[in-house]
Amino acid sequence: MQRAARLIVLALLVAAVALPFAAPTYYMQFATKVLILSMLAMALNLVVGFGGLVSVCHAAFYGIAGYVLAISAPKYEPASLWLTLPLALLASSAAALVLGALSLRTRGVYFIMVTLAFGEMLFYFFHDTQFAGGSDGAFINLKPEAMLFGVNLLDLDRARVFYWVVLALAVLTILLLHTITRAPFGRALAAARDNERRARSLGFPIYRVRLAAFVISGALAGLAGYFAAAQFGFVAPEMLGWHQSAIALVMVVLGGQRSVAGPLAGAVIVMGLEETLKGLTEHWKLIEGLIIIAIVLAFPSGLQGLVARVLAEPESDHG
């Protein structure tokens, strides 16, 4: 089974790399969007699935990184990727550090509500003030470029290149999260989730472990947000809003919270569903809502649980 799983992963990867040669541009851009959102969902899952902390403010970190690109990009020239990407990640991590330090003082449902409220605070910061375009949002006229010795290494203007870059980053995100969750740090995080009192008595610095996870997850959400902003060339406050966070949570739950790459499958399904339903009916939200309700009631552990039940053995990471 392990071997079969590996083969499947390999086949999927090859298919993903080859996609631009088969799909029309619109669907390639769509796939890029799905990958970007899956990065947000996977980042979120480090906190939600592995840390047991239901954060409803990750869209804020996603949006902040996008805004950093929008603000730092010159109007008529492309921004430098080497400069703006680290800056964006730094801003997202800093926001995650501050919000995390405050919210992690609370537990359970307070944590949910506090993260929700802090996320909305950042939303209103960009929505209500004239800073960076207010409720109208802001444009990024040109895609960032990665110059090295006068050569642009990544021509992000080409949809194909952009897609491959995002694909590579999604794979890197999976590998990074895979490593983190299997390291002692990840074990401490999981121990605190399963039994906080016991983890504390075993001497784990729970607060610091959780805060570190929150910051890593915020930074990865920022990575996704940076490329989301670059793809559309536009940022708006809604990027930080709680509906965005809620959709990421749906992806996490659908894909399975205990698997690193599960949210990727969740993202594919949610986005694919939306795209199909939008074409079918004006009332697609009704159907999406009913499906979400059905999933929560029928498959509490998501796809991962479903697959596991079918195979009746522990599931590997491909979701």
Binding site: V54, L102, Y110, E120, M121, D128, W242, L249, V296
Partner: protein, 290 residues
């Protein structure tokens, strides 16, 4: 700002706070007793306003809309509880968040199908249409004053029920220690159903009551939801008195925020919340762990 203007703005803030309390009381009640986070609470507020518009149009009487709207919301609450919500008791918060998020999407589309997507205004009852002079140029609608009185009456009724009745006893016990009440086997199905339906009815009631002063529009529930969450967190989850304090605090912060630093009115609300949570992580009157 002279004293008269200050007094008027104070009145504006208190009136806004009272409406917030009405919405938040239902939310905190449902959470305090049932342990369920209901993100769809704002959607019921919105639906209440649309039902008020529709019933006023059909019957020509706002009072009929008020009574009818509450009845419809209550019945809808009973039905939803037995269909969905009761399966959430004891489940993790994440499931509750998601299920109620799904419910928002469904309710929003139902509103679209049933009432359309137009913006409407609702006429207040005839005997409250007038206004009285506050200053030489400024008048105040009688209806706004009536809202204040009405909200105070509802608040008094809630407090009476909580202080003097058996259900109230369970609410208080729930806010103190939910696990204990659960362990004592108090969560009979009927009480749960009634509590959830009451929570929904309170949200709808708020929507109906504000319909004449706030236009009825599709996105009206969203902002209200987040604000009532802030109110509930500030006051302490499950505490009705806390919700009242939180609601007034937010109403005043928002009103004076708009006047004093217009760009930061919404942000100031969350800053107040952050400050209070730093001081008391479980809200002003919240029990320890939830």
């Amino acid at each position: 700002m002279d004293l008269a203007t200050f007094a008027v703005q104070l009145l504006n803030g208190v009136q806004y706070g009272l409406v917030l309390f009405l919405v938040a009381s239902g939310l905190t009640l449902v959470f305090g007793i049932l342990g369920v986070i209901n993100l769809a609470h704002g959607a019921f507020y919105m639906l209440g306003a649309y039902v008020a518009y529709w019933l006023t149009l059909q019957t020509g009487s706002f009072l009929a809309a008020l009574v009818g709207g509450i009845a419809i919301a209550f019945v809808a609450g009973l039905a939803l509880e037995s269909l969905f919500i009761k399966r959430l008791y004891g489940r993790d918060h994440l499931s509750q968040v998601l299920l109620s998020y799904g419910l928002i999407l469904v309710l929003d589309e139902l509103r679209h199908i049933l009432f359309g997507k137009d913006v409407h205004s609702v006429a207040p009852p005839a005997f409250l249409t007038g206004s009285f002079k506050l200053t030489d140029v400024l008048s105040y609608q009688n209806y706004r004053l009536a809202i204040c009185a009405f909200c105070l009456a509802v608040a008094a009724a809630i407090f009476f029920v909580i202080a003097r009745t058996r259900i109230g006893m369970i609410v208080r016990a729930g806010a103190e220690n939910r696990d204990m009440t659960r362990a004592l086997g108090i969560r009979s199905d009927r009480v749960n159903r009634l509590v959830f339906a009451t929570g929904i009815a309170l949200a709808a009631l708020a929507g109906i009551v504000v319909a004449p002063i706030s236009t009825v529009y599709p996105g009206m529930g969203d902002q209200m939801l987040i604000l009532s969450f802030v109110v509930v967190v500030l006051g302490g989850i499950g505490s009705i008195t806390g919700a009242a304090i939180g609601a007034l605090l937010i109403g005043l912060t928002d009103t004076f925020g708009q006047v004093l630093f217009p760009s930061f009115a919404s942000i100031s609300i969350y800053l107040v919340m952050a400050a209070i949570l730093l001081w008391r992580p479980h809200g002003i009157l919240g029990a320890r762990d939830v």
